[in-house]
């Protein structure tokens, strides 16, 4: 378990990568990516808060509830800014947001409770974000046949989301059984989660780096 804890710590520390990248290119970032940078700062604070809570209460789930709530809202707002000219998609985003907020509240109050892993909110978040990531890829290739995708910050952001939430969907869905009921089976899934988190943070850092060409 020692080495797994090491990977978890590395995964927590990896938030520093987009934080530094965002700081370097902050002046050149546009509105959605300034928001993403604010979220990265918030994530860093949550990571610190989680460690403190684990130390004090041996449980950091209340912070996870809060984190998931903000994560989803901010990611959806960034996606909404990208899709704002698509009226239909904007409506779907709004509906998704309402459904998610209701689920997250229900999860925290009635279903799992604030001290337990928010299985429903987390799984729903993963499904919705993966669906919107796929919508992004589809629309991007439908409308921008000649554009170099590597230079699009949104591409790296969406790829980060897609990578993290799709690969961890089963991890979130089976979290209760994996971690709580059968802790012995959770080593590899936890390791995969840590790795995907690191990769996602790197992808977010690349999305900030795309702004190096932009001029204010």
């Amino acid at each position: 378990m020692g080495s797994l804890l090491f990977y978890i710590r590395i995964s927590q520390l990896s938030v520093v990568i987009p934080l530094i990248s965002g700081l370097i290119f902050f002046k050149k970032l546009d509105k959605p990516f300034k928001l993403l940078f604010a979220f990265i700062c918030f994530s860093a604070l949550i990571e610190i808060g989680s460690s403190v809570m684990v130390h004090l209460y041996n449980n950091n789930m209340p912070l996870l509830h809060l984190y998931i709530f903000f994560e989803f809202c901010i990611f959806m707002y960034i996606i909404h800014l990208f899709f704002k000219e698509k009226k239909m998609l904007s409506k779907v985003i709004l509906i998704s947001l309402i459904v998610f907020v209701l689920t997250a509240i229900a999860d925290a109050v009635f279903l799992d409770g604030i001290w337990k892993f928010n299985l429903y909110a987390h799984s729903l978040e993963s499904m919705i974000l993966v669906a919107f990531s796929l919508a992004y890829y589809y629309l991007f290739y439908k409308e921008n046949q000649e554009m170099l995708v590597w230079r699009q910050p949104m591409f790296w952001f969406i790829t980060g989301i897609f990578f993290y939430f799709s690969l961890n969907f089963f991890f979130f869905l089976l979290q209760k059984f994996l971690l709580i009921q059968n802790p012995s089976t959770s080593t590899i899934p936890t390791f995969i989660h840590a790795m995907t988190n690191i990769i996602t943070n790197i992808l977010f850092a690349i999305s900030f780096r795309c702004f190096r060409r932009a001029t204010n």
């Binding site: 170099l148 995708v149 089963f170 059968n182 089976t185 590899i188």
Partner: protein
């Protein structure tokens, strides 16, 4: 829900593997599509460059035709009329009834006429260097230097490799234009006392090297005049490169033009 932990881990791995394959497939598609886009963009750019080159060459050919027409107009039209007028003046100057003051005046007019005819011939020669087609590039450039020597304190030297048969005439005109422009720039701006122009051929590459011991110029700070811009334009048309090294003790300009591509 799950009977054993093996069953649980199987569901997790099967699900995650499936998703992983989907992610990998999608990212591979993105990668391959981008490669395709890159190739397409590159091809478009090449086509654009080719089209521009064709346009430049057409313009260049048009310019040469226009120069030729102008040269002929000047030489056969105004030149012939001026020569006729000069002859009339000489006839008039030889009339016995004219007094000394009038003869002096006519003599001065005749001298002015001579200078005008000479300048006209020079302009006509520059516009259409017939000597280039008659006697070849080295003699044409020599002729150009001969005219410059009359007007300049600079000592000009010329070295030209023997290559005329390998190079089409249109390309030779370009070399002549670049060479004469370089010489003219030295004459007008460099304040040099010694300058050389070399035209060398080596391994499918033609080099035009102009060197002078003049005051030099800052390539980045000069307001690009028509002369240097013309040279750069001609070099670009023929897919060449230009290298300028200038300091207060002189300037070296090396122009390289591929021969094979311009045959």
């Amino acid at each position: 829900m799950f009977q054993t932990s093996n069953e649980l881990i199987l569901v997790y791995f099967a699900g995650t593997l499936f998703v992983f394959l989907l992610v990998a497939f999608l990212l591979l598609y993105v990668y391959l599509h981008q490669q395709k886009v890159n190739r397409y963009t590159l091809r478009l750019r090449e086509q654009e460059i080719k089209k521009q080159q064709e346009l430049f060459i057409a313009l260049h050919e048009g310019e040469e035709k226009e120069r030729k027409r102008l040269a002929e107009e000047l030489h056969d039209g105004i030149g012939a009329k001026l020569s006729g007028l000069k002859m009339s003046l000489e006839y008039l100057a030889n009339q016995k009834q004219l007094d000394a003051a009038d003869k002096e005046l006519l003599h001065r007019i005749s001298l002015g006429m001579n200078e005008s005819i000479e300048e006209l011939r020079e302009i006509s020669q520059n516009l259409k260097p017939s000597i280039l087609s008659n006697k070849g590039l080295p003699l044409a450039l020599n002729e150009y230097i001969f005219h410059l020597k009359n007007k300049s304190d600079c000592y000009f030297q010329l070295f030209v490799d023997d290559f005329e048969e390998e190079i089409p005439f249109e390309f030779q005109i370009t070399i002549y234009r670049i060479g004469s422009e370089l010489l003219n720039n030295i004459h007008k701006h460099a304040k040099a006392t010694h300058a050389t122009l070399q035209i060398l051929v080596s391994e499918n590459m033609l080099q035009i090297i102009a060197e002078d011991n003049g005051k030099g110029f800052d390539e980045h700070n000069i307001v690009t005049g028509i002369g240097l811009a013309n040279i750069k334009g001609r070099v670009a048309i023929y897919k060449g490169t230009i290298n300028i090294d200038s300091s207060v003790s002189g300037t070296t300009i090396i122009i390289e033009l591929p021969i094979q591509e311009n045959k």
